[in-house]
């Protein structure tokens, strides 16, 4: 819906920047959850995309199904996703903690298939959508019309990021989570309940994915199978930002969102995914430690 017939190049750029950053924020939230789990247990959670879908459907259940207001639905999404995250680690990760990584990866893939198809069995395969969070659809900034949902996504993501940096830096619980991620044995020696911290990491990470999934519904058509496409973008963000780095995951996710949006508009929308994939390959080959991370001694 373009209100002015010929937007200038500058305003088009600004429009692309906003929608790119918005979609990038979604990727960043998935990437963040992904890195939290990776740092805590050294496992790559292949089901993160499907955990996001669960969040989307909790949102749909709240807003469309039950007619709840947004704030109540947000609580439902956080609580529901958190619970699913707890069950996820209890069944699909914890029994496998001493097994080879490949078994954990396949188990996560299996759990993802279970979740995705469980959602489909309960809600049906038809895609859902809902109205944007704000009443007005478009907001004008510097004479450019920006979809309000993009702004909402960016604002909410910024708040979540501010909260989580505060949480991890200044609270005892956050410090215990960081200690667990850093060195489980040393943390246990210091009296940190490692088992509980790992479970909590999964809960937090799934809640983040769930919230991302909820914010996504007004932008995307939500369907049970949308997770795999989204998680790929989040992975690319994680690797581009530097595996294991939290700020890197956020920046990487936003960068992927921007590149994708610009590639779709300026090069070809059919090949936008190929372009982000090629970005991944190039980063992996040229700078596997990521763009925003200083070279480390750990060999990748």
């Amino acid at each position: 819906m373009r209100l002015r017939p010929h937007p200038s190049t500058g305003s088009l750029m600004l429009q692309l920047v906003f929608s790119g950053v918005a979609i990038g924020c979604i990727y960043a939230l998935i990437a963040l959850g992904f890195v939290l789990i990776f740092n805590a247990v050294g496992a790559v959670n292949f089901a993160q995309g499907d955990l996001l879908v669960v969040g989307s459907y909790f949102g749909i259940l709240g807003v469309v199904g039950l007619g709840w207001p947004l704030w109540a639905t947000a609580i439902l999404v956080l609580a529901g996703s958190g619970l699913v995250g707890f069950l996820f680690q209890a069944f699909a990760y914890y029994p496998l903690r001493d097994k080879p990584t490949i078994n954990v990866v396949i188990s996560c893939l299996g759990a993802g298939i279970f979740l995705r198809n469980g959602v489909q069995a309960l809600a049906g395969p038809e895609p859902y959508t809902m109205a944007p969070f704000l009443e007005t659809r478009l907001v004008t900034i510097f004479g450019v019309n920006i979809p309000s949902q993009s702004l909402a996504v960016i604002a909410i993501t910024a708040m979540i990021l501010a909260f989580q940096s505060w949480f991890f830096a200044f609270t005892t619980l956050g410090r215990m989570l960081r200690a667990t991620a850093n060195d489980k044995y040393a943390a246990r020696l210091c009296g940190v309940p490692v088992r509980k911290m790992i479970a909590l990491t999964f809960v937090v990470s799934t809640a983040l994915a769930g919230l991302a999934g909820f914010m996504l519904v007004p932008i995307f058509l939500a369907s049970p199978n949308m997770g795999s496409g989204l998680i790929v973008k989040a992975w690319i963000g994680v690797i581009v930002g530097g595996f294991g780095s939290l700020p890197g995951a956020v920046l990487g996710g936003i960068l992927v969102g921007l590149i994708e949006t610009f590639a779709a508009k300026l090069i070809s929308s059919a090949y936008k995914d190929v372009i982000t994939m090629i970005l991944l390959m190039v980063v992996l080959c040229v700078r596997p430690q990521g763009l925003f991370k200083s070279p480390v001694s750990e060999k990748v």
């Binding site: 188990s107 299996g110 469980g118 690319i236 090949y271 390959m281 992996l284």
Partner: protein, 321 residues
């Protein structure tokens, strides 16, 4: 009877059963299913080189499968190549792809390699989907001709069965031979510890590359067979789900074993048939089953069978010590 003769007898018995199987199978549908089992076995045997022996998680198998299938189909349909020429070219093209992808990515470790192979598989699928002029886009390539020997055309599912069976046997024999070569032992050493293998004088980079190329060649052959069997190929066949199927097949049977690769492929391909009753819930059960499999059978059926055999043959007195 010596051990060797027992093995020969077992193989002869197994082969005659397999040769007679198409006559026991009634419907064309089930025969077609058996042929898909065979193609899955070839894919999994290939994956076994890189994942089972070298211990590297690769999602590239479906990408090589696609490359093989499209190379074969484009050569046959657009350029009129005979199948017998297209088959080795498909295998070779897949191998070359593996070589090109392998140069930068095999240096990477663990999950980085997994991501890179995943990206490769996605890129080739997206290119196949979007490069209309060359790959015919989402519609795919139709009317892929059947191979023929002289005037005999391998077009019925039954004749295809024997052809695929022969390829599977050949592929398994090659894998069996390689497993017991210095190459196989080098791969195993890399899986156990790359640094240690290197310090023993194993050229790890070269050995891993060879395993990766071999896995691609198997997938290329599988692709070249799949096209004529199905007579149609389209990009949606070569999705991530195929990667999951081949991975689960290998891990269900037992990674690093040829028998395991075969048993796993048969079970995973036929499972949807046996679990028809579940209808819409099949995929839910399938996902949960994968998780349970990883928890309770981490070394696969073959690994579990071996552990049981060890327990039975060990006397309680030995076990106590």
């Amino acid at each position: 009877m010596t051990k060797r003769w027992k093995a020969v007898l077992l193989i002869v018995l197994g082969m005659s059963l397999l040769l007679a199987l198409p006559f026991a199978v009634k419907s064309a549908y089930h025969l077609r299913l058996l042929n898909f089992v065979g193609i899955n076995i070839i894919l999994v045997l290939g994956l076994n080189f890189i994942l089972g022996y070298a211990g590297l998680l690769s999602f590239a198998q479906v990408g090589f499968f696609l490359v093989g299938a499209y190379t074969g189909a484009i050569l046959a349909v657009d350029f009129g190549f005979s199948f017998w020429l297209a088959l080795p070219i498909s295998a070779a093209v897949s191998g070359v792809f593996a070589w090109i992808i392998g140069i930068p990515t095999l240096r990477l470790r663990g999950h980085y390699f997994a991501f890179a192979t995943f990206a490769f598989a996605e890129i080739v699928r997206l290119v196949a989907l979007n490069w209309q002029e060359f790959t015919h886009g989402a519609v795919g390539i139709t009317g892929i001709p059947s191979p023929s020997i002289g005037s005999f055309e391998i077009s019925s599912d039954r004749s295809f069965y024997y052809f695929i069976l022969a390829t599977v046997v050949l592929g398994a024999a090659v894998a069996f031979r390689l497993e017991r070569s210095s190459f196989g032992r080098a791969l195993f050493a890399i899986k156990e510890g790359e640094l240690a293998a290197e310090s023993m004088g194993i050229e790890t980079a070269k050995v891993k590359m060879t395993a990766f190329i071999l896995s691609a060649i198997y997938a290329g052959v599988a692709g070249a067979l799949y096209g004529p069997l199905n007579s149609v190929i389209s990009p949606d066949v070569f999705s991530f789900d195929v990667s999951v199927v081949v991975l689960v097949s290998l891990l269900l049977g037992g990674a690093g074993t040829i028998v395991g690769a075969i048993v796993g492929s048969v079970l995973v391909t036929l499972l949807p048939e046996w679990l028809r009753v579940l209808q819409d819930y099949y995929m839910v059960v399938y996902g949960a089953g994968i998780v349970l499999l990883m928890i309770f059978l981490p070394t696969g059926l073959l690994g579990a069978a071996r552990a049981l055999a060890v327990r039975w043959t060990t006397k309680p007195a030995d076990a106590a010590t």
